[in-house]
């Protein structure tokens, strides 16, 4: 089949623990633009058990077609089962571009699927565009700890696959009265198998708020100097209705769990307010938070990179500044 016979932009709408992942709406934003630029349709793929009800929601937010593969075997995520199902759908329907969220699951699933399909995959892109001349997908991603951005193409095979960094795009807006087509794809039990067994899900008992959903994040870096510093940050976060996070240094020092790490090797967040305390602002970190609406840097060192790029720069000792903030907020 000729490359130009592959049509439409696909996104994988991830469902985790019975909930549609926010990444689905982000991918609809990215995918809608690609589909419009190509003059093709935007299609969402739903894999799971009892996921059919999400189809209309995806249409409301921009999908033209939703492919649904709904089966009890897809209740929990097993790499082989999901990758075989997805690869089979790709071979059957032959999409042109395919975006998958670069979540933990999406990273692994996209990689395995790309080999089963026999096509190229770009990891963790932060920007995707269509090249006007040849209609190819140009996927741009950070490499070398974010010091260098690389634009990657996949010229000879389709679909061009790409995992897209969560929060790299804003969520799509709901549009009233949108209609679309829902296509049920049968799950083939004899074919989509795995020797692996899902045993159980263990919910994080860390408590606290989900970093991807809070409006305010108070993050600490090397400048905290000690694990106890996070207690102070937590006070400020509580006062502002937010959550605590960290750059890589405190995680490496064992002051706080990896789950809280923001940056290239951690998570990406996009809160309304991001307060960076004692964080120098290496690109390793800023890659994970530069999309925040308002960035505040508190640092003793006025020459720290983040002090030049934050919206508000406070030169000073965070152990003086934050108590003063708490008092002013009282």
């Amino acid at each position: 089949m000729a490359l130009q016979d592959y049509k439409n932009v696909w996104i994988l709408a991830e469902v985790q623990r019975g909930k549609l992942s926010p990444t689905a709406l982000e991918l609809l934003t990215a995918g809608r633009k690609l589909a419009d630029d190509l003059g093709e349709k935007l299609c969402a793929v739903l894999l799971g058990h009892n996921v059919r009800p999400f189809a209309q929601e995806l249409i409301d937010y921009g999908a033209d077609i939703v492919y649904v593969c709904d089966d009890t075997q897809l209740e929990n995520y097993i790499d082989d089962v999901y990758a075989k199902t997805l690869a089979d759908m790709v071979k059957t329907y032959q999409p042109n571009k395919f975006l998958i969220p670069a979540t933990n699951r999406g990273r692994a699933l996209s990689a395995k699927t790309a080999v089963f399909v026999g096509t190229g995959l770009t990891a963790d892109a932060t920007d995707v565009t269509i090249n006007k001349e040849d209609g190819q997908l140009y996927a741009t991603r950070p490499t070398f700890g974010g010091n260098l951005m690389a634009t990657i193409t996949c010229a000879r095979t389709r679909p061009e696959m790409c995992s897209l960094r969560p929060m790299a795009y804003e969520k799509a807006k709901k549009q009233a009265g949108r209609t679309g087509e829902v296509i049920a794809v049968p799950f083939q039990r004899e074919k989509f198998t795995s020797a692996a067994q899902f045993i159980e899900f263990i919910k994080s008992n860390e408590g606290g708020l989900d970093l991807s959903e809070v409006d305010v994040i108070v993050a600490g870096g090397r400048g905290l100097g000690k694990a106890e510093g996070f207690a102070l940050l937590q006070k400020l976060a509580d006062r502002l209705g937010g959550a605590v996070a960290a750059s890589r240094a405190p995680v490496d020092s064992g002051w706080i769990d990896y789950r809280y790490q923001i940056g290239l090797t951690g998570r990406t967040v996009r809160p309304k307010i991001y307060i960076a305390c004692g964080i120098s602002g290496q690109i390793q970190h800023t890659a994970g938070m530069s999309g925040s609406d308002v960035i505040i840097a508190i640092n003793k060192d006025p020459n720290a990179p983040l002090m030049k790029t934050a919206h508000y720069a406070v030169e000073g000792d965070l152990y003086e500044v934050i108590p003063a903030m708490l008092e002013a907020l009282h």
Partner: protein, 265 residues
Amino acid sequence: MHIVACVKQTPKSDNVKIDKETGCLIRSGTESAMNPFDEYALEEAVTLKEQAGGRVSVITMGPPQAEAVLRDSVARGADDVYQLGDRAFAGSDTWSTSYALSKGIEKINALHPVDLIICGKQTNDSDTGHIGPQISAWLNIPNAAFVKKIVRLNEKSIVVERLTEDGSEVVELPFPCVISVVKEISNPRVRSIKGRLNAKRATITVWTADDVAADKSKLGIQNCPTRVVKSFVPKREITSVVVEGSNGKEKGAKLVTLLKEQKFI
């Protein structure tokens, strides 16, 4: 049991210098070492061997100087080390690299049947996380990624806990299988004197594409599906309000006032 750890030689720090004019990497003066995530993988492989008995093989793909990570692997407790070294591999993307590694592992498997393949979750120079899952796809065996803990192990299978955004998932994988591991899995030990001596004496087996019966049409910069068409240094934002005050206390109070004025809080 026979465990294969996959490792890569990468720049020691991810704060590599970039030529701002050309957007190219300044390689001179950049030290190389084992990818940090692969250290955790190898450590876990050696720990499992100590618990269950057996051997640890290590495989890498890379230029001649990549033999250094194989010697380092021996120093850290690996028994046998293999290098995929051939111009045909050069410039491969993750799809081609995982293919080459899978062919190397097939050859290792023919020497001693392989039970478990362990990779780091990603490399510090390209951050893809593709290699583990892709090796499992080429070999058509089960896999789990972002593994933070081995829950239990027996002769036929391994039970692992993998990290998700909202907690973790426990999965049982029968052998042979592939896991890619995160930092929490292990604490890399200090290399012993015996290990260092072994490293010096170690025999490194170097294989070409033909040696591992790899299809050359799947290898190298000319044949791999993806290609880098442009690289550039990212732009950083500018616009900063410097919060004034004579000390930290004043500045903290001033900041709150400014944020309130702007209705941010």
